[in-house]
Symmetry: C2
Subunit: 468 residues, 2 copies
């Protein structure tokens, strides 16, 4: 998407320039105001128009963040945290200008306590980097969105991904964060104990706050032991409903599946083309089981039975790592595979999550809606959580098309809400879902606003995100 | 303990009486001001002196709670939520007087969505009542503190218990709450989806807030499937260190133990006497495994090997339900068994939680401290979480003894904090741990205070709890 710089409410330009000048004097090259830097930091994987910050500050440690926040707080200049820019709802945009705090240089793994299955990392560490680092410990970091996102960003959007059905989301694995609050001081939200009742759960408050309450400077994470055995498999279905029903039964039976991913026919077609695969172009489930040799075999057999019962074709499973990795690489490329269906078009990746019993119904109605609108829009989902994505490919230069897409996402969100679900399972709110979250949360939005105002009275932290 | 009525800061008596009069007029018998009612509602399982409310309001539905809060908000009268009164740190005391809102009549299971493994209950439903209700569904509510606490109270103190090592704490199983906030309106913090990124995690903010931010009027809970097979066993050890080492290895090996409880020699002695058992009066581990027949057998065998390696004697396990229930009944009576060691004495049950690798060290040092002080103080713990309790039996009429006990709990908390742990794993803060939590949380207490002030500017909700 082209770079547009559409600010909704620019703040006082003079104050912003003063703050930048002070930071430049103190930090020199760590502060950049060139167009290229500013563009890069507003450019996220989103359909929303880019809104450029006035400057970019490359923080190298928590002390840098504290200083930058202190200066920005004094001049009431917006502070927008930036990890890798892989968020999908405009979380890194700067609608009121300000300074993007890029934490990608804060990329140290600070400690690994293998004997306690935890570690502490700086926010710029990416999930792949962390798993490389952990390779020899027998442990891994299980949260696995498609992108190689930063841990700070993943915490801030309450990310999850393919493994969440077994290992939880960032809400579950973040034990504690340190964060710089509006007074420029750093707080620690908890210790390393597995559980605590010591006051308000500030850890969970910062997880999912999308940088609106402070800047995360380190994250303590619970890790998982690498399973003795991993088995995976694929199963094609005639219809989406059959595939969803197999997911529902798997969850209801309590099979501790580690991953259970749904691809609709269009997404399978996209992945076949993009990753050189040859699956039948009908709905597909990709599954993975973690455990002992016996247990993964048993889980695979049980799933196979369920799949057959639901109309699945030729379920096969394998413990062969190479074959498995090829499959999951294709799954992780689903977004780019989808985009490649129509590289000339813009895209919007939306996500909803419903109680598992409503998954088939929600996906089915959504696909009918897609057909009715003649959208090119593959569906892919972390079906075990009741969570699925629609990647809408459309002409984002056409106001009519944009309006049609927005109406579609509104209908999708309303459908999920009517089923007891949420308008976003893992992408977060950013700018794109503010109006939907306002509907979903009702009076709770007032409570969120009150908290925001109490902790950030001058609204310097990532203004214009989550709610208005 | 005798009833003392020691208010720290009584509020305006006239306003309180006005509010009570208005509520009496509107609600008649639902409002009680007799001494017996007031005493009962200040009397919790705590060492702290009782501080009586001025009246008790028996709410029967959310509408009642809204009305009561509206009246109390208008007259700035404290509102103290009351479930079953089983909290341990003075959470139900009324240091500034006010009205105790008893939710025990709000005891309806509102819905069970068996196909989604969730349910919604009123706050006065107790955990045993819920499990009775669920009996025929194949599901159970896994959070299991000793007392038959109310779900509202368990949510408010972020309770856990013996199953937490496998099934998590209230933080993990509460999907959503409805709560009446300071404006007398009811908010809903989330839907029923298994995960959501829709704004701030208000669910987790209310879980553990101890009623200081609002009154919980319903709780949506994630349930677990009743395991196909349950096996349990006991193993005696010569020393606490050996027993702790067996726990540490079990967790580090990733054995998905459902319960792993530690009793020191004194606690075993107490349980033998109270529950008519005949265990060797040395440190003991009680374990339980959930899964398929094969898997519980394998887990039991693996644990047996670890126990032997660590010096355990004669580990035996059984899938016999009657024998198992007898054991766990004894475990759940541990508190009363401890009290029965010296019924003439007062008691203080304290709890800390440390990273699992430090468990042996922390328990060992604590026992040395107990010996040095010649305290009668059994230790019992949810060892798999690194969480343990000390039940101090002491003359609570002696200021010197009280001071010695307070010094001990301070040393215990400091020991846990120095190891990266917390001063309370599951009892919460109430009045008793405010000073310790202030040390533990440092600057984060300021953030908690700001949130409290934003959501409850007149400090009507459970004043004097969690922090000053």
């Amino acid at each position: 998407m082209a770079i547009d710089d559409v600010r909704t409410q620019p703040r006082d330009a003079e104050s912003t320039q003063k703050a930048i000048a002070i930071l430049k004097q103190q930090f020199g090259e760590k502060v950049q105001t060139g167009e290229a830097f500013r563009e890069q930091h507003a450019h996220s994987t989103t359909y929303l128009p880019a809104q450029l910050p006035d400057g970019v500050f490359f923080a190298e440690n928590a002390e840098d963040v504290k200083q930058a926040v202190k200066v920005c707080a004094e001049y009431k200049v917006p502070v927008i945290p930036f990890g890798t820019g892989s968020s999908l709802e405009g979380q890194v945009n700067a609608p009121e200008g300000g300074i993007s705090i890029d934490v990608s240089r804060m990329d140290q793994v600070l400690e690994v306590n293998a004997e306690d299955l935890d570690c502490r990392v700086e926010p710029g560490v990416t999930r792949e980097q962390l798993n490389d680092y952990l390779r020899d410990t027998g442990l891994f970091f299980p949260i696995d969105p498609g992108a190689n996102a930063s841990i700070g960003g993943m915490a801030s959007t309450r990310a999850s991904g393919t493994n969440a059905v077994r290992y939880g989301t960032m809400k579950d694995v973040v034990l504690s964060v340190t964060a710089v609050t509006a007074d420029g001081e750093e707080i620690t939200t908890a210790g390393r104990a597995r559980k605590s009742s010591a006051g308000y759960d500030l850890t969970r408050l910062f997880v999912g706050a999308e940088g609106t309450l402070g800047i995360i400077t380190s994250v303590t994470l619970r890790l998982a032991g690498i399973p003795e055995k991993i088995a995976g498999g694929v199963c094609s279905f005639e219809t989406l409903e059959e595939a969803c029903n197999a997911v529902i039964m798997t969850i209801q039976m309590g099979i501790p599946v580690a991953r259970i991913e749904l691809l609709d026919a269009m997404q399978v077609k996209a992945c076949n083309a993009y990753s050189n695969l040859s699956f039948a172009e009908t709905p597909l489930l990709l599954v993975e089981f973690h455990g002992t040799e016996d247990s993964v075999a048993m889980q695979s057999e049980m799933f196979g039975e369920i799949a057959r019962e639901c109309g699945g074709k030729d379920f096969t499973w394998t413990a062969n790592a190479e074959e498995r990795n090829r499959l999951w690489k294709a799954r992780h490329s689903a977004y780019w595979a989808g985009r490649a269906l129509a590289p000339e078009l813009g895209s919007l990746s939306t996500d909803v999550c419903v109680p598992i019993s409503r998954l088939a119904e929600c996906v089915n109605e959504t696909q009918k809606d897609i057909e009715k609108e003649s959208f090119l829009a593959p569906i892919v989902g972390h079906a075990g959580d009741g969570n699925f994505h629609v990647l809408l490919l459309f002409n984002d230069k056409s106001p009519e098309e944009i309006a049609r897409v927005e109406d579609f996402t509104t209908r999708l969100a309303e459908r999920a809400l009517a089923m007891g679900g949420t308008c976003t399972g893992e992408h977060g709110v950013g700018q794109g879902k503010k109006r939907l979250v306002a509907v979903e949360m009702g009076g709770s939005i007032g409570v969120m606003r009150a908290i925001k105002k109490a902790l950030d009275p001058d609204n310097i932290f990532n203004p214009g995100k989550v709610f208005d």
